[in-house]
């Protein structure tokens, strides 16, 4: 097992076989390619994508499907081939969330979702460019509101 001393979660032990590789990195962070997926015990709508190369970098991921059942990003054959995916149904599709203020202002990038193939451990951000999907789609979830006491 390896360890990454993350800034948000303290020490996280992980199996290096579970590292997910983003061959193209993530836009804005192209030099970082290796991440682990962390489940949130508080909510299964959210996961974190934690960099194992930069302990301060993690992206909060939001699962759009329960609230947005028609969300179907236009993924093409190149996207699927790059991730060794037989179809979009075999992928995890999640949107990068931005929560930098009050939870009621939380947004997620529906225009450029992350596509992850868990079995091949490959991922990419698919920049769809579709104006009908927002870069800052308002999301709200009770898990974003920290419980006090």
């Amino acid at each position: 097992m390896h360890v990454v001393k993350t800034s948000r979660f303290g020490e996280v032990r992980y199996d290096p076989e579970r590292v997910i590789r983003f061959p193209r990195g993530i836009l804005g962070f192209e030099h970082l390619c290796r991440y682990i997926l962390l489940n949130c015990r508080e909510s299964d709508r959210f996961k974190w994508l934690q960099s194992v190369e930069d302990p301060t970098l993690a992206f909060l991921l939001f699962d759009p499907s329960p609230d947005f059942p028609d969300y179907w990003p236009p993924v093409n054959s190149t996207d699927l081939a790059e991730l060794d995916l037989p179809s979009l149904e075999s992928a995890i599709v999640m949107c990068i969330a931005t929560v930098t203020g009050p939870p009621s202002y939380a947004t997620a990038n529906f225009q450029a979702p992350l596509l992850i193939n868990v079995s091949s451990r490959l991922g990419k951000q698919v920049v769809t460019g579709l104006p009908s999907y927002k870069t800052k789609q308002a999301i709200f979830h009770s898990a974003l509101v920290q419980k006090t006491g």
């Binding site: 804005g28 996961k47 909060l60 990068i96 450029a112 920049v127 460019g129």
Partner: protein, 91 residues
């Protein structure tokens, strides 16, 4: 950058199967705009270039996310649970 001049209805070919055609030119000077028609295979995405910049900016904003109510985490897939036999290696 390869620079070519095209008139309306003229096109450029990129590789074996991409075509960019000038359909319309509107206005003049700094306000001028060009309508382009693009033919490309299904597996090649065509994007306005600003979209990549906007995505990078939004990713950088997202990297500053603070969500203390979501900090009880565990690696996905339960890889640390039963399944792999033998003692854990000391790192």
């Amino acid at each position: 950058m390869l620079v070519l001049t095209r008139k309306v209805e003229e096109s450029v070919l990129i590789g074996d199967n991409i075509e960019v055609k000038v359909l319309l030119v509107k206005g003049s000077g700094k306000q001028a705009s060009v309508r382009l028609g693009i033919v490309a295979p299904e597996g090649i995405r065509v994007l306005r270039s600003e979209v990549l910049i906007e995505t990078a900016e939004e990713n950088r904003r997202a990297a500053r996310t603070v969500a203390p109510g979501l900090s009880d985490v565990e690696p996905a897939q339960g890889s640390g649970k039963a399944g792999k036999g033998g003692p854990e290696k000391q790192s």
